[in-house]
Structure formats: C-alpha cells, structure tokens
C-alpha cells in the first residue's frame, strides 16, 4: 500500500491518530464478532446459567431445521424480488431521464429523495397503503376481485415487503445508472443513429452492454441491501409473519436471539451471515479494483 514519498517522522503520533478509530473497531466490531463465533460453538440453557461446548452442532442443527431452510429461501425470494424490481424500474427511469435535456435535473430531484427515507418508515408507509381495513390498494384490488390480506397470506406479505424495500432503493439505483449512462461517449450513440439504429436497438446493443459494470455493481449492492438493511421494513410491518413467510435471515437472528433467547443458534446464524457478507464484499471490491484499471 502506498504512502506519500515524503512523510512526517513520528513515533507515537500516528498511533495516537489511529487510536480512536481502532479502539472503537476493536471494542464494538472485532470483539463482538469474535464472541459471536465463540458462542456459535456453545449451547446455553434458557437461563444462560450453563453453557456447554458443542462444536459445530449448532450449525448442523440449523441445516436440519426446516424453519432455517425456509428462512434461507424466503431471503432469496426477497433479495431477488427487491433487486429485480428496483433495478429494472431505475433503469427505465434513468434511460428516460437521460434523453431529457432541459428537464433532466427536475426529474432527478423528484426521483432521488426516497433514498433519505428510513427502511422502517418505508415499511410503515406501504403497510398503511396496503392495510386490509383502511388501505387504498386493498380497496382497489377488491374491485377486481382480489382479497388482499398480508396478515394471513404469505404471498401478500412477501409482496408488501418487496415493494417497500424496492421503492426505497429505486433512487439509489437510478443515480448510479444515470451516472453510468452519462459516462458513455455520445459519439458512439450518434454513430449508431447515423447507421440507422433505432433508439431501442441502440439501447440494447450499445448502452446496456456498456452499463454492465454498473449493473453488476448495483446487483451486489442491492443484494447486500436486501439481506442486511431491511430489518426495519420487516420489523415494522410483518414481523416475519404470517407463519414465517417473511422471516428473512437477519430478522431470524434477532428473533431467535432476543425473543427466543436461543443464543447458540442465533450466534451460529450470525456467523453464517458474516460469511455471506464477507463474500459479497470481496466480490464487490475485486470487481471495483478491476474497474479502476479499465
């Protein structure tokens, strides 16, 4: 790793400068993570009085546990649904905004602000709209003969949390797609237009392939978002229900640990999540480093 060619001499100063960051990291990040790994190997009784070392038993139990496997598949559906919806809507909006000249900044302003809304608030907003007794959407759905109830229907509940999660993420994806499109040389598109390529054809043969690095980056970011930042959405709306239909992994760690007080299992789940997030971060960084060399 580089430094400046010329640096300050200093024996203690650099350590002092790093100290606040490193101390906080050690106390609140590294130590708890280590503790989670250790706890994942223990089995505690419900009162936390005794704990016995059980090795990888907690992990083995998880993968035999139907509820955990269900939570895994629920998470996959949720992450894929959220990513697909938010990215495709954002791509559509960004490519349309990008052709605007005078109104571009107005539309951008109108589209970026949901980024600032907390996931929990987004959840409450959509929950209100879809509220079976007073919500506006169930009222409209009833007219076409669909009886919406996310309190009893797992599919309805899943759709609700996906919509809330995707809605909040559109603005983020939109900004990155727009930035990606603006870095495509205009001459390429003009040349294709002179050759008679239609706007659709130009989009799919020139713009979209050139956007693929951005698309891939956003895919990873969106999966991380859906898996880890949507706790608030789930907690404020469905609380994992009905009958586990929206119990995503992050929520299950919380529910099993804080409500169920099953510390060993919750810690084992945390460790699995850590591995997932580490893999996703590595992919993201590998890819970003590669892109820097372009």
């Amino acid at each position: 790793m580089q430094t400046k060619r010329m640096t300050f001499p200093g024996r203690w100063l650099p350590y002092a400068l790093l100290a606040p960051q490193v101390i906080i990291t050690l106390i609140f990040f590294i130590w708890p993570a280590g503790k989670a790994m250790y706890q994942s190997l223990l089995r505690e009784d419900a009162f936390g009085l005794r704990s016995t070392f059980v090795g990888l038993e907690n992990f083995a139990r998880l993968f035999r546990d139907g509820a955990y496997l269900n939570s895994l598949s629920v998470t996959v559906v949720f992450a894929v649904g959220t990513t697909l919806i938010s990215m495709s809507v954002a791509l559509l909006l960004a490519s349309t905004v990008n052709r605007m000249i005078r109104s571009r900044s107005t539309y951008t302003t109108l589209l970026v602000w949901p980024y600032a809304i907390a996931p929990a608030i987004a959840g409450v907003l959509w929950w209100f709209i879809f509220n079976p007794s007073i919500g506006i959407v169930p009222y409209l759905l009833e007219m076409v003969g669909y009886n919406w109830n996310h309190r009893t229907s797992g599919n309805d509940a899943m759709l609700l949390v996906i919509l809330a999660a995707a809605w909040k993420q559109i603005s983020y994806n939109f900004l990155f797609f727009l930035a990606g499109m603006q870095s495509i040389p205009q001459s390429l598109i003009e040349a294709a237009a002179i050759d008679g390529a239609s706007p659709m054809k130009r989009f799919w043969t020139i713009v979209f392939p050139l956007l693929s690095p951005t698309t891939f980056f956003l895919m990873v970011v969106n999966v991380v978002y859906a898996m880890f930042d949507t706790f608030g959405i789930i907690h404020a709306t469905t609380q994992g229900g009905p009958s586990q239909a929206t119990n995503i992994l992050v929520y299950k760690v919380y529910a099993d640990g804080f409500i169920g007080l099953n510390l060993g299992s919750s810690a084992a789940q945390s460790v699995i999540l850590m591995i997932i997030v580490i893999l996703l971060t590595v992919v993201q960084f590998r890819f970003i480093e590669r892109r820097v060399n372009y």
Binding site: M1, T3, K4, M6, T7, F8, R11, L13, P14, L17, L18, P20, Q21, I24, T25, F28, F29, I30, P32, A33, K35, Q39, V89, L92, L93, T96, M100, T109, L110, V112, Y115, A116, I117, A118, A120, I121, V124, L125, W127, F128, S133, I134, G135, I136, Y139, W167, I170, S171, P199, F228, F231, G232, H235, V253, F258, A267, L273, M274, V277, I278
Partner: protein, 282 residues
C-alpha cells in the same frame, strides 16, 4: 439526444410522470392521512384529498404524542434523533479524517495491520453481530444513553477510504512546502489538509447524517427508556398500538415528521449528496 421526435419525447415524459407519481404516492397518502381527524379512518377507506385537521394533528403529535402507547412526544424523539445523527456524523468524520491522515502521511509499524482492522468493519454490519455487541454495550453501562446510541456506530471504513483516496491526490509539493516552512504534522493537517477536504467533508456529512438519522435496529435494542427513543424506532411502537386502536392520523403525522429532515437534507444539498453517495460507494 440524437434525433428529435416529438412523440418520443411525449412518451418519455409520460413514463417519467408515472414514475414520479409512483415514487411520490406513498408519501402523498401519508401527508393526506395526517390531515384528517380520527373519524375518517373508521369509515373504511381513506380520502385522497387533504382534510382540515393538519394543525391539530401535528401539534398533538409534537407535544404529547401517543403517550398511551408508551411513546414520548414526537418533538422529543426528533431531538433525540437529531443528537444521535449529529454525534454519529461528527464522530465518523473526525475519526476517519485522523486515521486517513495517519495512514497516508506516516510510515510506521503495523500500518497494514491497522488498515485491515478498519477495513474489516465493512464486513461486519450491526445486523450480524447484534447480540454480542449488545452485551458489550450493556457491560460498558451504555444502555439508554446518547453515548450508547452513537459511539458503537461511528467507526467508518468507507469514510476512511474516501479521505485516504483524496489525500493521495493532494500534491506532494504541499507537504514539502509545509515542511520547509517548519510546519508540524498537526499544523499541516489543520491548516492545509482540512481546508482542502472541505467539499468531501460536506458531501460525506450529508450521507452520514441520513445514515445516523435512519438507524432503527440499534436504538431499538439499546433503548428501553422512552427518554432516549428516536423518532424512526418510536414510530414502530406507535403502529403496534395503533393497529388495534386506529390513530392513523397521528401516526402518519409522526411518519411525515420523521421523514422530513433527511429528505430536506437531500433536496437542499443534492449536489453534495450525489457526490458523497457515488464516491463513497466506489
């Protein structure tokens, strides 16, 4: 655009207007709901136009809130959110500036080791280590305090990397000139590096303020004393109570108040917000 076709432009505007309408819709509904009296919600469906009770609802929410549901007044929760968000933002910026400075402008033993320790925080979101982190904070007696709300969240790898990258682009001559003039490291940091980084600091400020304001899981875990509830987590307590007892007009007033500060920050600082967002994530 390459060619100018009026119908294509019209079509584009239509798509965008529909898109904007869909994006705005949930918030519009919340604003409308917050302007009606409780009677409107008992009738079954919500009206789509604003009602006359806006001032009543917002003042009621601001000063008393849903005390029956165990939630403090929104005014106080907003203040708590503000304190927490500011503490997180200022904390993150200061410790990241200092550590990036150390990493770029000094050579010392274990530099790489410290760099990796900071890097690792990227891979350990609160969500994956909730229980042990909660235990650490409880052991340190930091439950129900502003210190507990903010300090565990102020480590920031992204801000450190961003400042590191920025410091690497500062011309070497600056440092040479400063050293020829006899400036020490701290003077150089304060008089040269900080003023040069001011746009980066401002851009990150926007992003981190939103991050701090929108925290949910963490305040939920460590605050049991309503005096420390933040608005974003406080709303969940109101909705659980509201579900049996329709107080939606008040809850939606709180939702609007909770969403307003970060949205205003984005709208007024849009240029800095975009800069902060695109640079931190790359």
């Amino acid at each position: 655009m390459v060619e100018n076709r009026p119908w294509a432009n019209l079509f584009a505007h239509t798509i965008l207007i529909i898109g904007v309408a869909l994006v705005v819709f949930p918030v519009y509904i919340a604003i409308v709901a917050s302007t009606h009296g409780p009677g409107e919600f008992l009738r079954g469906t919500l009206p789509l136009l604003p009602g006359p009770h806006a001032i009543d609802n917002y003042t009621a929410m601001w000063s008393t809130g849903l005390s029956r549901a165990g939630a403090p007044p929104a005014g106080q929760m907003l203040w708590n959110s503000f304190v927490m968000a500011m503490a997180i933002t200022i904390g993150k910026l200061s410790i990241s500036l200092l550590s990036a400075f150390a990493i770029v402008y000094f050579r010392f033993r274990f530099r790489m080791f410290f760099f990796w320790i900071i890097f690792i925080t990227l891979m350990l979101p609160v969500e994956v280590r909730i229980i042990p982190t909660f235990q650490v904070v409880a052991d340190l007696k930091m439950l129900n305090s502003f210190a507990g709300l903010s300090i565990p969240l102020i480590a920031s790898a992204t801000a450190t990397f961003l400042f590191r990258q920025f410091f690497m682009t500062v011309p070497e001559e600056m440092l040479e000139a400063a050293r020829v003039d006899g400036a020490g490291p701290l003077k150089f940091f304060k008089d040269i590096l900080m003023p040069l980084s001011i746009t980066n600091i401002a851009a990150l400020f926007v992003i981190m303020f939103i991050y701090g304001w929108n925290q949910y899981l963490w305040p939920l875990l460590i605050t049991t004393d309503p005096d420390y509830y933040t608005i974003v987590m406080g709303i969940q307590r109101m909705t659980t109570a509201a579900d049996g007892d329709p107080q939606w007009h008040l809850v939606m007033a709180a939702v609007v108040m909770a969403a307003l500060p970060p949205v205003l920050v984005v709208l007024f600082m849009q240029r800095l917000f975009v800069k902060g967002l695109t640079e931190t994530e790359k």
